[in-house]
């Protein structure tokens, strides 16, 4: 599979605060990636830098093999973006907004937009200023899907949606993921959005992608280990994130399971137990 996005040594600072620090990342076609990060970790900045909405100060970003600052028209047509904030023109109706947006693209699917409008119960004659944040979010997603993108970048798309609309939206994402060769990146701080839809997880922390792997590997490698051992025995636990000792019990969280080391434990008369963690807990442990 080919690279859709490759980022090399990207750095970005606002005033003196370093937001992105020497970040490198590769995204392959067909991936559905959940980008996790705390508030203010720089998720939006990263996504906007990819799209050249924010200026890249250091480093290079390539989309479909082209530098993102000189992206060709053909490739720009393949990208859909849902911004975090609604900055759309308030005095246009949704229908007008769609026609406006359409004029910027070479390719546009009216059927797709009409279908989404019907399924998501969007009233095209309403004005942007009359919509609730949740309704507006749906409109923004619809606009991003209009050009039938091959790369879809969503910045906190489900934040304003109610539980039903959120399910609908996630369902739409799954449908999209079933199609061939579409790559989706969506940032969120709500881990449950990721668990169903994404096949990969990236964690952005301290200006870097500190973790990027398949969701299943992610869940299997960051686990809670409990040891029962003789009192006072010190254990040199590999990949340790955090540990806590109570008498003859040690509870710890590791970022990867070293099976050969665990096998050795039996000879030292230590019994162990692996407890799997939910994604939310994993995220908390990694960005602690």
């Amino acid at each position: 599979m080919s690279q859709v996005i490759s980022i090399n040594n990207l750095s970005k600072a606002y005033k003196k605060q370093q937001v992105l620090n020497n970040l490198s990342w590769e995204i392959r076609a067909g991936d559905v990636i959940g980008l996790l990060g705390k508030n203010g970790a720089g998720k939006s900045t990263l996504l906007k830098s990819i799209l050249n909405i924010e200026v890249v100060e250091q480093g290079t970003i390539e989309i479909f093999g082209e530098n993102n600052q000189q992206l060709s028209c053909t490739n720009k047509n393949k990208i859909g973006y849902v911004p975090q904030e609604n900055d759309e023109i308030p005095w246009l109706s949704i229908n007008d907004l769609v026609t406006l947006r359409k004029r910027f693209y070479d390719q546009w699917s009216d059927e797709k937009v009409a279908g989404l409008m019907q399924r998501w119960d969007i009233d095209g004659s309403k004005q942007v200023s009359e919509l609730s944040p949740g309704q507006m979010q749906k409109v923004l997603i619809m606009l991003a899907l209009g050009p039938l993108p091959q790369l879809l970048i969503l910045d906190e798309p489900a934040a304003a949606l109610d539980p039903i609309a959120r399910r609908e939206f996630l369902k739409e994402l799954v449908e999209l993921a079933c199609e061939e060769e579409i790559s989706i990146i969506f940032s969120t701080h709500i881990t449950s959005d990721i668990e169903r839809v994404a096949n990969k997880v990236a964690v952005l922390d301290k200006g870097k992608i500190c973790y990027f792997d398949e969701l299943d590997n992610f869940k299997e490698s960051v686990v809670n280990l409990s040891f029962t051992h003789t009192k006072g025995q010190a254990l040199a636990i590999p990949h340790l994130l955090r540990s806590e000792c109570q008498g003859n019990q040690t509870h710890c969280v590791v970022s990867a399971v070293d099976q050969s080391w665990l096998d050795q434990l039996a000879s030292q008369d230590v019994s162990y137990h692996i407890n799997q963690l939910g994604l939310e807990d994993i995220f908390m442990e990694l960005t602690r």
Binding site: Y14, K15, L51, N52, I53, V55, Q70, L71, S72, C73, K76, N77, Y81, P83, E85, D87, E88, I89, P90, W91, L92, S93, D96, T99, L100, R103, F104, Y105, D106, Q127, S129, E130, P147
Partner: protein, 449 residues
């Protein structure tokens, strides 16, 4: 803290201080004690008027705020702040006016003004009464000559009574309520005024607008809506233009309307008063209104739409390098040409009504407009390109240039000078144009930071 809220806004504070300081400096400047005295009275009343006007707006908001019943000691602190504010606002009168009787009556006048303004903000209907009073066919000069001394006497002796009245009113402040819808509008105006935001309407719900405003902006937007709905292809400039329109944009026809209204006023007044000499005042007012609304409002709308425009720039239509920035700058340039073309045309028409137009005047006007255009492009582009928000300093820059240019033009008109003979002015124009060109070429790669 409450005092801070009541007097919030750097622009208002600036003007209040300016007038108070003006009153003080008048004492030293003016040799004629009669003139100095008159000036301090006028400046004090103006400064306090601005102060009371703002405070009364904020007061309405504070007495209707939701947390008034939640916070402890809310009204006690509010009342104390109000008393402090009133006392402080009377201090300039106390120090500046040397005649005791006049001083006392000015203080009563100020207190009445304060009470009146607060009453007006709580009950906007009272405005009709004030307008009716202003329109009464009575000459103020006559009153001043006939009743002046008596009024001063009555004013000074009734000061204790008026002070007591204001104090009692402040003590009953919790009983004042106002209309909900009216308060929302007030909130809008006062939040806009605190940061010199001409376009604070942009952020409000469209349906909260008064009907006439909705009609007006819709009649403007309908042009763009029909443009979108028609099958005709739109060029890049037109698409950018659509994205830059807001509720507070100048109406499409406002240029024509402005010129027409000014012409009608000029013609009518000339017919009624053949020796009409106030044409320059009409010219000045018209030019100020056009330049402020045509420059600051679009600047602020675009500043608010920055994120949206940046996103549009990333779409396929603008895939070619520099494509968006070139179109955007051409759009901006087109708007500026339209604006200053209108200003020049309007002024020429108005002047034509009154007198002959000399080539000196035309060249002066052209030079001033070139200077304005260069500086405003420079200010706008610099503000948009910087990473941090410099919108307020940009507005201050606009106002500063405006004041400087007004004085220049006034001097020029007064002495019938040809501005191009002034080396200083020419240098300023050249520097401004040079800087603007440099900024534009810098922005050709990217307009927004």
């Amino acid at each position: 803290m409450i005092l801070k809220i009541l007097t919030h806004g750097w622009l208002d504070r600036f003007f209040v201080l300016l007038f108070w300081l003006g009153g003080f400096s008048g004492q030293f400047w003016l040799d004629d004690p009669q003139k100095a005295f008159l000036m301090s009275v006028i400046t004090i009343i103006t400064a306090n008027f601005i102060l009371y006007f703002r405070v009364s707006m904020r007061l309405v908001l504070l007495t209707n705020a939701d947390f008034r019943s939640v916070l402890p000691n809310y009204y006690r602190l509010l009342k104390r702040s109000l008393v402090t504010l009133l006392v402080v606002s009377l201090l300039p009168a106390l120090t500046l006016i040397s005649q005791p009787m006049v001083m006392l009556s000015v203080m009563s006048l100020l207190l009445i003004l304060a009470v009146l303004l607060v009453a007006l903000t709580y009950q906007p209907k009272l405005y009709f009464l004030v307008i009716a009073l202003l329109l009464m066919p009575v000459s103020i000069e006559e009153i001043a000559i006939q009743w002046g001394d008596l009024l001063i006497n009555v004013g000074s002796f009734s000061l204790p009574l008026i002070a007591l009245l204001s104090y009692v009113l402040i003590q009953h402040i919790e009983r004042f309520k106002s209309n909900r819808k009216y308060i929302e509008r007030m909130l809008l105006v006062s939040s806009g005024s605190s940061s010199m935001d001409l376009v604070s309407i942009e952020e409000t719900n469209y349906n909260a607008q008064p009907a006439w405003r909705r009609w007006l902006s819709n009649s403007h937007f309908d042009y763009y809506r029909s443009m979108l709905r028609s099958d005709k292809a739109m060029n890049k400039l037109q698409l950018i233009e659509v994205a830059c329109q807001g509720l507070s944009s100048l109406h499409r026809y406002s240029y024509f309307v402005a010129i027409a209204v000014a012409l009608i006023i000029a013609l009518v007044s000339k017919a009624l008063f053949p020796s009409f000499e106030q044409i320059s005042l009409i010219m000045a007012l018209l030019s100020i209104a056009l330049i402020v609304l045509g420059n600051i409002a679009p600047f602020q709308i675009i500043s608010k739409r920055r994120a949206q425009l940046k996103q549009l720039a990333s779409l396929p239509l603008f895939a070619k390098e520099k494509s968006f920035s070139t179109s955007f700058i051409s759009y901006l340039f087109k708007q500026q040409l339209k604006l200053y073309g209108t200003v020049i045309l309007a002024n020429l028409l108005l002047m034509g009504v009154q007198q002959q137009i000399s080539s000196v005047v035309i060249i002066n006007m052209l030079l001033v407009c070139v200077f304005f255009m260069a500086t405003s492009m420079l200010i706008m582009l610099s503000a948009w390109r910087s990473q941090t928000n410099h919108d307020n300093s940009a507005i201050a820059g606009f106002l500063g240039i405006f004041v400087v240019m007004s004085i220049t033009v006034m001097i020029g008109v007064e002495n019938n000078l040809a501005l191009w003979t002034s080396q200083l002015f020419l240098t300023a124009v050249f520097v401004a144009v040079g800087l603007a060109i440099a900024k534009i070429s810098q922005c050709r790669n990217r307009v927004f930071a």
